[in-house]
Symmetry: C2
Subunit: 255 residues, 2 copies
C-alpha cells in the first residue's frame, strides 16, 4: 500500500488561542481532501506551542546561580539556560554552544526543545522571545484529534513532531513528541518473518519513522507547511502515549 | 508537493548474483509505474547483501581470543563476534545480549549490522548462516542507479537502508547506509526562515528521514517489500556519499 504525505497549504501564522483544528479543516477543504478512516495529521511543534501561548519573554526571566554557571560553560544566554533548567529533569552534556538535557517530558534533546522565536503571530518582530514545547504534547494531540474526529466522523490519529539532533549521526531528523490514536512503538517480536522460519525480535519506532517522513515534507520551512496529511500508515491504529518511545535509563548505554 | 512512497510488489527471494536493477524494472513495469526525473529507489540492505554474496557460514569462522572474550561478556556466539570484530573499527559498548560498534563504514550500530539469515535464495533453511552488510553500500547504490538511469533515460537517486536501534529512544528506525545521487545531509544554515528575520542554523539528515519513511513502508516484512519507489523528495538531487551523515568523533558527545 502506498504511503502519501501531503503538506497542507495556506496555514497562516499562528497566534495564541488560534483554533488549530478549524485551521486544519479549512486547509483540507481548500485541497478538496476528505478525511478518511485511518488518516493521520502530523503537526510541527511550533504551531501547537504558539496556539497554546508557550512564548516567554527572556526579559522576564531571572537566571538562578545554576543557570549562570551553565551559561559560563556553554557560552549561552543565562536567561535561556534558566528556562532550559525549568523544562528539564537532568543535564546530560554541556560544551560551548551546546546543552543536552533530559526534558521533563522524558526525552533527550538539546536546549530542552526551546526555540528562539522572535516573530509574533501578526508578523511583529519580538526581540528576545523564545518558545517552549507544549505543556503536554500527548494531550494537545488528543484534543486536536477529538475535534477532527468530531468534524469528520472518522477515526484518525494526530502526531506532534520536533526536529532533534542525534548522537553519532549528522543532521536533525523529525521525531515524535506527542501522539494520539496511533502506536508510538510497534512490537513485531515473536511474529514470523517473510519465510516463517524466524521469529522476529524487532520493535519498530513507527511514530518516529512517520515523524521523520513528515519532517521531510515540512522541511522547506520557507514555504510554511507545518501540517502534513498522511494516508497509508501501514500499522493498525490504537491508543498510545509517547512513553512507549522513551528508553528507560537502565536500558540506555549512552547517557 | 506530495511525497509518495510505493512498495514494489513481487520482488522475489534474492540469490547471489541476481540482477537487482532488472528485478526492480520488472516490478515497476508490473505496477505500470514509469520512472520520472528525480524519482528515488530505496532498497533494504538485505537484498543488496544477498545479491552481492555477503552470506557467511558460521561453521567456517574461527573465533580469535578477543572474540572469545567478547562472547563471555555478551553471551553471544563467538563466531558471530569474530565477524563483528572483522567488520568493525571499534567496540563502543557491550553487555549481555548487546554489542555496539563503530562499523568499518563509519557508522555506529549493533552487531556491525550482521543479521542472522538462515534462508537461502531458493527457500532452503541454512542453519548458522549470517549476512554481512554490503562491502561498499555507496558503490552498490551507484551501480544500481547507473543501470536504472540507463534503462529509464532520467536522472534518479538510489538509497540503501538498514534498521538501527538508537540511544535514548525505543524502537528501531530506518537509516541510510549507502547513497547515490541525492544529498545525505541538507545544509539550510544561513537560509532565511519563513519570515525572513532569522538565518536558520539547521542541517537536516534528509537521507535518514527518507530512510525512516521507506522503512515504514517496508516494515511489514511478512509482505516482502524490500524496494520502495519515492516521488516528491523535496530537496534538489546532487552527488553525495554517506560520509555526510557520520558525526566526527570530536563533535560527538555520546561515544
Amino acid at each position: 500500500m502506498r504511503l502519501s504525505l501531503t503538506p497542507l497549504p495556506g496555514i497562516p501564522l499562528i497566534r495564541v488561542g488560534d483554533d488549530l483544528p478549524a485551521i486544519i479543516l479549512q486547509s483540507l477543504d481548500r485541497l478538496a481532501l476528505d478525511l478518511r478512516e485511518g488518516d493521520i495529521l502530523v503537526l510541527g511543534q511550533k504551531i501547537v506551542s504558539k496556539a497554546e501561548g508557550r512564548m516567554v519573554n527572556l526579559a522576564s526571566v531571572i537566571p538562578s546561580g545554576r543557570a549562570l554557571a551553565l551559561a559560563a560553560e556553554t557560552e549561552k544566554d543565562p536567561r535561556m539556560l534558566e528556562l532550559v533548567l525549568r523544562e528539564s529533569k537532568a543535564v546530560l552534556r554541556t560544551r560551548p554552544g551546546t546543552i543536552i538535557v533530559e526534558h521533563r517530558l522524558g526525552f533527550i534533546c538539546a536546549n530542552a526543545g526551546i526555540d528562539h522565536s522572535n516573530v509574533a503571530g501578526d508578523g511583529t518582530v519580538l526581540e528576545e522571545w523564545v518558545l517552549l514545547l507544549p505543556e503536554n504534547p500527548d494531550r494537545s494531540a488528543g484534543c486536536i484529534r477529538q475535534r477532527l474526529e468530531e468534524a469528520s466522523g472518522v477515526r484518525l490519529a494526530v502526531l506532534i513532531i520536533d526536529s532533534h539532533g542525534r548522537s553519532w549521526r549528522m543532521g536533525t531528523v523529525g521525531v515524535a513528541i506527542g501522539v494520539s490514536g496511533m502506536p508510538a512503538v510497534v512490537d513485531l517480536r515473536g511474529k514470523p518473518d517473510l519465510f516463517g522460519y524466524n521469529l522476529r525480535i524487532t520493535q519498530v519506532g513507527a511514530a518516529d519513522e512517520l515523524a521523520a517522513a513528515a519532517s521531510l515534507v515540512m522541511g522547506q520551512a520557507a514555504e510554511g507547511t507545518p501540517v502534513v496529511h498522511v494516508r497509508g500508515f501501514p500499522y493498525p491504529l490504537r491508543e498510545a502515549t509517547l512513553v512507549e518511545l522513551l528508553r528507560p535509563e537502565d536500558q540506555d548505554l549512552f547517557r
